[in-house]
């Protein structure tokens, strides 16, 4: 795969009905709206290593039943790339999300977050209960339970004398071998067999952010502490669905279970799935999301 190929956008099963930019403090993010059903399903950005195309297996299906809103978070896709750790905290992403809702006339929505998208999804639900009807969190990257020990062996900042395995999750390695890091990282994310296409897509999106910017976005997420996140969870009042693959090599199942417990949500384990079941097992995840969204309508009625 050449970089050029990775960066030329592929054709889509469905194109947005409207799209646009919204700016906050001079930082623009790019949003897309699909369909006009009810309610709105808001597919949030995750870590800036990829952009909103990672929802491509959800958008065409969900947009036939609901209105779908998504956006490229700061740092990737068609959004701006501000510099500095402070630009990439969960508070900034949550504020961007709210700004996108305002710009698109979205009074309320069901938010769907992947991995660290959970951090801003829960924050939005906790701080703006009148805007969030429910939350779906997939493979949550939350500090409520310990992570995989192998991810904590090596320092992110020190220069290491190895690049084996998770030693590649290292500032110096990223700056010198970024493509190799992306290939390793997405290889871990897509632990299911026959994932070459999904890995290739993600590596392509990963090449749309500069390494220095990704380092900022990484360090910002490290700031999210346990106490502070517990407090957010305590304040979430809306119905919650947590979906987690039991072979997730990035964030262990215990994290998803703890989030479901902390928010009083329902916990669904997907057997044999890795960190992105919405990409590798989209039919199952789409049906779970649809059932959840429709159950909210029933309880409101």
């Amino acid at each position: 795969m050449s970089l050029l190929e990775a960066q030329r956008e592929q054709t889509r099963a469905r194109y947005p009905d409207s799209e646009g930019y919204v700016a906050r403090d001079g930082v623009r993010v790019f949003y897309e709206v699909y369909g006009d059903g009810e309610p709105t399903v808001f597919l949030l950005p995750t870590w800036s290593i990829i952009h909103s195309r990672h929802w491509k297996m959800q958008i065409p299906y969900l947009a036939r039943h609901f209105r779908v809103l998504t956006f490229d978070g700061r740092g990737n896709g068609k959004a701006d790339r501000p510099s500095g750790i402070g630009a990439y905290t969960e508070y900034e992403f949550a504020a961007d999300s709210l700004a996108v809702m305002d710009a698109t006339g979205t009074k309320t929505a069901v938010v769907v977050g992947l991995s660290c998208g959970t951090l801003w999804g829960t924050l939005l639900a906790a701080n703006h209960p009148d805007r969030v009807l429910g939350g779906v969190f997939i493979g949550p990257a939350v500090p409520l339970a310990p992570g995989h020990p192998e991810r904590y062996v090596h320092s992110f900042d020190d220069r290491l004398d190895t690049d084996d395995g998770w030693a590649k999750y290292n500032r110096h390695y990223w700056l010198e071998h970024y493509v190799e890091f992306l290939e390793y990282f997405f290889g871990k994310i897509f632990s299911e067999p026959h994932s070459t296409k999904q890995i290739e897509d993600c590596v392509g999106w990963g090449l749309e952010i500069a390494t220095e910017t990704l380092i900022d976005a990484h360090e910002a997420l490290e700031l999210c502490g346990l106490e502070q996140f517990r407090d957010v969870c305590d304040r979430v009042r809306c119905p919650v669905l947590v979906i987690h693959g039991d072979e997730d090599a990035l964030h262990p199942l215990a994290r998803g279970a703890a989030l479901a417990e902390a928010t009083g949500g329902r916990f669904v384990t997907l057997e044999g799935s890795g960190h992105c079941p919405h990409v590798r097992d989209p039919v199952k995840v789409n049906l779970l999301i649809r059932d959840f969204v429709e159950s909210l309508g029933r309880s409101a009625a």
């Binding site: 795969m1 067999p193 026959h194 070459t196 296409k197 290739e200």
Partner: protein, 297 residues
């Protein structure tokens, strides 16, 4: 990837056969399946005993919503018998199986898709039983029309070679030594498109349901002379479609061009496709085939 022959449970299917059964000729049983009940019937013969009818799994559910589809496992693999003589795998025997399946399933006439080596068997059927074949599609087919050797003819099949690199694996001794090694190599050449790991794994699993010994018999089996093949082509009267990938690494695209020339058929070239384009680009192939079937129906 680890695959152990005989230990795999069959995968679930998008659609299951309506009737299925066996037809027996000279003591050899061949297993067939029928899907749907539209008109006309499409017969999808096997291409070679290295795979069997599941190779059509991306065609069956779609085509059977519009037409009636008949598939069968060729002798030597799947649920069919594995006769122990080379004669039993001859091209005329293969064509006779196709005819027997048409008879057993009450199929007066069918559109036939001859894939790879199955192109030759389908040619015999269409030329010698024209009333049974409404139209013929050659898919990645080989009728032996080539001045250059095919990739799999580069090395002598029977001699002990001092290499097993690449197509040197197309060799009796290598097959007996490492059948799985051959199957993995062969399907890597069939599926040249990116992101084919699933298709390769499926096909390797099917290839391990037969044995090197059986497959050697298919290589020793009687084949038509080139003159006979050419003569059969002149006898074809039904509409002909030729579909071939321009990156076919097993049967070069020039073969499709030659078949279209020899049969007066219409050639459709799939850019970037390998030998099994119906597996890797099923939507496009299914639409091309459906359009062809509807044009002759």
């Amino acid at each position: 990837m680890t695959i152990v022959a005989g230990e795999r449970a069959e995968q679930t299917r998008a659609r299951y056969p309506d009737p299925e059964g066996y037809v027996e000729r000279d003591g050899v049983r061949v297993f067939y399946e029928v899907y749907g009940h539209g008109e006309p019937t499409i017969l999808l013969p096997p291409p070679w005993a290295i795979v069997y009818s599941r190779v059509w799994k991306m065609q069956i559910p779609y085509l059977s919503r519009h037409f009636r589809v008949v598939v069968y496992d060729g002798r030597g693999n799947g649920r069919s018998d594995r006769p122990a003589s080379a004669e039993a795998y001859g091209e005329r025997e293969q064509a006779a199986d196709a005819l027997a399946v048409l008879d057993a399933t009450g199929t007066e006439q069918a559109v036939v898709v001859g894939f790879s080596w199955g192109g030759k068997w389908s040619l015999i059927l269409a030329a010698e039983h024209p009333e049974r074949v409404k139209a013929l599609c050659f898919l990645g087919a080989s009728l032996g029309f080539s001045r250059e050797p095919f990739p799999y003819e580069l090395y002598p099949f029977d001699e002990e070679l001092d290499t097993d690199e690449g197509w040197a694996k197309e060799n009796r001794h290598y097959w007996l030594r490492d059948w799985q090694g051959y199957v993995e190599w062969f399907f890597s050449q069939c599926f040249t498109e990116p992101h084919s790991t699933k298709h390769i794994e499926d096909a390797v699993g099917w290839g391990l349901e037969t044995t090197a010994e059986t497959m050697i018999l298919t290589e020793e089996a009687p084949e038509l002379e080139l003159d006979e093949t050419r003569e059969l082509c002149t006898r074809l009267t039904c509409p002909i479609l030729v579909v071939h990938g321009d990156e076919d690494a097993v049967v070069p695209h020039a073969q499709g061009v030659a078949i279209a020339e020899a049969t007066g058929g219409r050639l459709v070239t799939f850019g970037g496709s390998g030998h099994c384009l119906q597996v890797r680009d099923p939507v496009r192939f299914n639409l091309v085939l459906r359009q062809f079937v509807e044009s002759v129906a």
